[in-house]
Amino acid sequence: MTTPPEATPRTPTGAPGSLENTATGGIGASPLRPDGTLKVTGEFAYSSDLWMDDMLWGVTLRSPHPFARIRAVNIGEALATPGVFAVLTADDVPGRNIYGLELSDQPVLAKDVVRYQGEAVALVAANHPEIARQAAKRIRVDYQVWEPVTDARDALGHPNWNRLHDDPAEDVELSRSAAPIHPKGNLVRHLKIRKGDPEARADVVVSGEYSVGMQDQAFLGPESGLAVPDDQGGVDLYVATQWLHVDQRQLCTALDLPPEQVRLTLAGVGGAFGGREDLSMHVHGCMLALRTGKPVKMVYNREESFFGHVHRHPAEMRYEHGATRDGRLVFVNCDLYFDGGAYASSTPAVVGNGGTMGIGPYVVPNVRVDAYGVYTNNPPCGAMRGFGSVQTAYAYEAQMDKLAAELGIDPVELRVLNAMEEGSVTPHGQVVDSAAPVAELLRRLQAMPLPAPRGDDIRGLPGGVSNTTHGEGVKRGVGYAVTYKNVAFSEGFDDHSTARVRVEAAGGKPVAVVHTAAAEVGQGLVTVEQQICRTELGIDDVIVHPKNTDVGSGGSTSASRQTYMTGGAVKLACEAVRYGVLSLAAEKLGRPIPGARLADGDVVSDSEGVLISIADVLGDGAVEETREHHHRPTQELDEETGQGFAHVQYSFSAHRAVVDVDVDLGLLKVVELACSQDVGKALNPQAVEGQIQGGSTQGMGLAIMEEIVVRDAKIRNPSFTDYLIPTILDTPRMPIDVLEYADPHAPYGLRGVGEAPTISSGPAVTAAIRQATGLPLTRVPVRPEHITGT
């Protein structure tokens, strides 16, 4: 087994790191969350908990049809309902009736056409939520129903998947067999990657087709918020979101108001996972509040939530892997179809990730990737943790196992043989310029002890407490998977973060206040912001200011980027504040202080010890600094070859899954899901573990149970009764091995943690099921009937 160099501390245990001036609860420690006490006592104010005197309740009327013309909307009866204060339609949108994260293509309220089941058509505000719901039912919408376009390849007019003489991807004619859902056609993005020799030949070739179903973020806190009008025509919105400033931009356009009149404050967020990147009730709530002059609260119920946010793109993928007889990859060709549903959301970026990282963390000289994002009338898809990489990992890791079997090589050995490392070049031509411990992650997993053979306790068997087996027909499989994922936004986007840090004295002690607009969605950014301030300023008492648009953008809480980007901004602001405090100290002492630093609330130097307390330096004054943190610039990808320095940083993880399968009943028990991951530097080891375990569980969920079932473009299971997420009974023990190879480009050397484990866990679980059953299993989630063949 290889080990990291001596100089690199690794495997966090909660002990402080080697940095000097580490205050209690600084980076490398796992202090308690500042919002934790409120959360365990039920006092934390989530976006659905907000309340004001005299507030109204808003509800949304949604289309029952996936594709239809709206001939007329009659609101008369609804408006006449006692208790109703307003009924609004597309004609009432004050500004532009169009918005979107990357492309503006989605109406605030549908006008003329609805393109998916659940599209918002009208709004009602009333003095009781049930009155509002009843009134919404009295809105008469006259629809001319059209046949929906339900298949991504059909939407492109692409020949059928399995036709013998498939047309080359470049020749695809837009919308040949289907009417365009959008005026310019149904193609959202086609990413082409061309590396090496397109005609490369290999000793051994394996090919396969793979499908991934539509996954839901299933955050527990439903979409909700409170919009409060001021008396100047502006509005304050308290909302659960992932990026306040991108919401504000879209709100200003839709409401036709300047940013000063659309102020956002982050309400408590009950999970996000990508599902809160797009707007939900934001504009609707503000429209109702501005129209009625009263505060308006909107809270989706679980069914509406399934229609109220975008999902993970379902994908159809075809791969061809060529290798030498001794197992060196020669080429990989693949075609990837991401069904974006009715509106673009973040489909272009999902295609970018899916395409650029679509062959996995392996070195391959010749690569062709064609990745498509497509409009259909299915539910809109956009961001979900793993973002384009989750889908492709199922396919490329299945292919690696298939190739290993064909070559008679152990699957882990084949991966190690072809593993990316520092200095490797990706399919999009980017040199990996920091640690890439792909082989080591796999080796470390191999070295971890396997779980004990199954015992007699039936609660540990597939079917568990339902007493479906006593072990007969149960077979165990072990599977491995490894992945990599970009951190922060890519392809030339400057997603900077802003932080304001202020230090003042209170009661003779220094207090720091850290103010960012970066959304805390549960991951623990608020804790990390405090930790960075403690370490950089030597001040224990750090207050996290409420997150709002009074400070510059924090960028999105997505792409595993907030500790890197906003953490980096807090660090920069702290450094500026520290400089200010030390300058004041020198002024106060009337002399320069060589080697001065801040520690334990004092200005100290190694030679002179404590010189003066920070509180005495500040007196009644304060030092406040605001800084932006920009990551290194990236490039757009070349239109024809897909080459370019597109990604800021990579994060690597690997999983080993052990699964028991009842091959007679098709029931599964994931026995253990071990993860090794390189996190660069664990700023908060406990939170890092929480991210890895939570992410691993979501990945496992897609492998074995989670799917939004869509038929005829309609969601068939919009409830937690029918859309299953893993319970504590479904979730296994998850041992973790964390590596810390510093990335020299990143603050503290850290790597974004949150997404990679969501990507590699499911493919490992699927591989284990394949090993147990001997079945190809080319579609996830794997269902009992896939195992029993019934």
Binding site: S30, L32, R33, G36, T37, K39, V40, T41, G42, E43, F44, A45, Y46, S48, D49, W51, H128, E130, Q217, A218, F219, L220, G221, P222, G268, V269, G270, G271, A272, F273, V299, N301, R302, D457, R459, G460, V521, G522, Q523, G524, Q686, A687, E689, G690, Q693, G694, G695, S696, T697, Q698, S719, F720, T721, I725, T727, I728, L729, T731, R733, M734
Partner: protein, 158 residues
Amino acid sequence: MRITATVNGQHREIDDVWEGESLLYVLRERMGLPGSKNACEQGECGSCTVYLDGVAACACLVAGGQIEGRDVVTVEGLAGDDGLHPVQQAFLEAGAVQCGFCTPGLIVQTHDLLSRVDNPSDPEIREALAGNLCRCTGYEKILDAVRLAAGRMAGSDR
């Protein structure tokens, strides 16, 4: 209608309740007790778990009117004057809280488990908490929290 009940040890009278309102709605929107959470409102997620006459129940599945004359304890009623209940403290310390939306329900359910079973085994914990969905943690640190709380509470009179 008017509802009269004991909630977190206090006598409460709530007027103008519509008959269709759930206990969850009455707690959250009429009594100023939003700690019980509205994740699914269909009895699947456990985030609204409360005690009704000492029995853990999903508040979303109980009609508001059904608490007439009865005793309700919510997550807001668990901490004592001397600070957090050991179950709350353990969830906080073990890292069992991320977004926290499942936390109130899990804390009430764990409180119930540990009031019945002294040192539950892992399979017992998993079975007891099987009705509480968490989307953030992968449950490992929730198990840690329950074990931690059980250890601290063992021998005490709870």
